[in-house]
Subunit: 313 residues, 2 copies
């Protein structure tokens, strides 16, 4: 029986430009991408803030998928807005603008019914707000946290404080290097372990992900795709698949983590195939298992007989 | 019984600067790095040119390892020289100078005893010279080719011509995108297949490698290492391990390729751990199998029982 996951993060209207097109005011935000991916595996409870300008159909879309949006506050003012443009190979992104809007005075309120959530994902918001959420949750079994260069630079102490209560840190390679002050990614990962989390997962975009733990490492390539339209939200979809699998798995966390990262990789592969939320919305639950199989086969190598065995399965 | 591999490429004296140190006039070059890696698996026959200034101990080092250097011509003048500097995360490299020297008037002469070589590696030299080598070899079973942005820009027709006779193209991700005129790596790989080779292997440095074939793809992460000192020669060591395994394997090529890429990944991991040739020279044959096992475990994921099985082996 899958356990519920509490997510806190942004709900946003995104302006996105990639070499393959552009969208304006596209429904997005870390909490929304995470929730859509995680709900394929486990019940999701969402804490966020939106403005009065947000088209009610957006939250309705999440509710229709079974996501509990009763922790989404509607505040007077405009919804958080973000604009970004991607380079020709989608590996570089320029932030064009960030309008905090209703996020500016936001303090997350975790509804009473959400406080027993055993799994918590602290999406990329100010570390003080991430800490406020944790204070409202009763002894969660597993807490994962995402962050970004802005907080590493401007709210480092607050970030280090909240990391003490976190089991899994999910960051990209540049953030890992910056937070650890170490260019070598393996050593950076090990240094981050010393900050509190027992597991660090470093996202590398089209190059996949690397997990670093005291007891070993795990590396997953991204699924090679011929059609990649928009990487926005891929990192949150990755986290959603990862925590979703953990919350649904009967295995001990340590054993389930590798499979969980594979699930994250699969959800990210759906996310990048459409603009904004379209890729995730188009993915059906029955599409997950075939991609997991593709991912497993993708990295499998000799001896030849074991490959034949893989092929038979 | 391992079959012999003919390699043509550069022998060089390299000036290298990385964040971890600098060396001057370090023995290197594509043919030398390739040969040292490949000879761990199969007999290697080398065709190259050096100047009269090259310390004789360098070629002696190769001979002591069993590499047949009878195709290395000593020409009047100075040995090829290259200088490069790497950025803080070793992912960017600036070429400081290239002195062709004896390479300028070089035309490879394949000794009669080398002409029956079933495996051929055309290291990164002008595609006209790569073609001259192929003309001197009798029906090789497997030809692999490496190239670079310089030839893609300045000798594109010659490169396209020699690619017709090549089975495996090995390039890095930037070269793949440039040669294919396509930013998406999977589509770039497929376009390169249309140029002649039945297999394309795209090297991504610390992010591993991606193989693209008509019948499927294979992805390998690089081995995560805490000590990476100098990436110079890693791509040629990768190619050496790859062709070395193919030449030594009793399996049909199509089945051996994944394992071969893993062997290339392992040899590259040795190469980057020391400056210039030091990493490869320090690696012992008995070090290869443990790294292959680490690489296999690195990407393995659930269900948990199969992981336990992996651990028992």
């Amino acid at each position: 029986m899958a356990q519920p996951i509490l997510v806190v993060g942004s709900v946003a209207l995104d302006d996105i430009r990639t070499p393959f097109g552009a969208v304006r005011e596209s429904f997005g935000g870390s909490a929304a991408f995470f929730a859509l991916a995680a709900q394929c595996f486990a019940p999701v409870r969402m804490v966020a803030v939106v403005g009065t300008d947000l088209d009610s159909q957006y939250l309705e879309t999440l509710r229709q998928r079974g996501i509990d949006t009763s922790g989404v506050e509607v505040a007077p003012g405009r919804t958080f807005r973000w604009g970004g443009a991607y380079g020709f190979d989608l590996n570089t992104r320029e932030t064009l603008f960030t309008q905090l809007n209703v996020f500016e005075g936001f303090h997350p309120k975790v509804p009473t019914a959400f406080r027993d959530s055993p799994f918590v994902f602290l999406g990329n918001i100010h570390p003080d707000l991430q800490a406020e959420v944790l204070q409202q949750v009763e002894k969660p079994r597993f807490v994962a946290l995402d962050t970004m260069n802005l907080w590493i630079e401007n709210a480092r102490d607050a970030l280090l404080a909240v990391l003490q209560s976190v089991h899994l840190l999910i960051v990209n390679d540049a953030e890992a290097r910056q937070l650890a002050g170490e260019a070598n990614l393996v050593r950076a990962g090990r240094r981050l372990l010393a900050l509190g989390p027992h597991t660090v997962v470093i996202k590398k975009g089209e190059h996949g992900a690397l997990m670093v733990r005291e007891d070993g490492m795990f590396a997953s390539p991204a699924l090679p795709l011929e059609e990649v339209r928009d990487p926005t939200g891929a990192g949150d979809a990755f986290a959603g698949g990862l925590l979703g699998h953990l919350a649904a798995s009967p295995e001990p966390l340590g054993l389930a983590l590798r499979h969980a990262i594979a699930c994250g990789t699969v959800m990210a592969s759906f996310a990048v195939q459409g603009f904004g939320m379209q890729g995730l919305l188009a993915a059906r639950p029955e599409d997950i298992e075939p991609r997991l199989r593709s991912l497993r086969l993708l990295t499998q190598f000799g001896p030849a007989d074991s490959l034949h065995e893989m092929g038979r399965k």
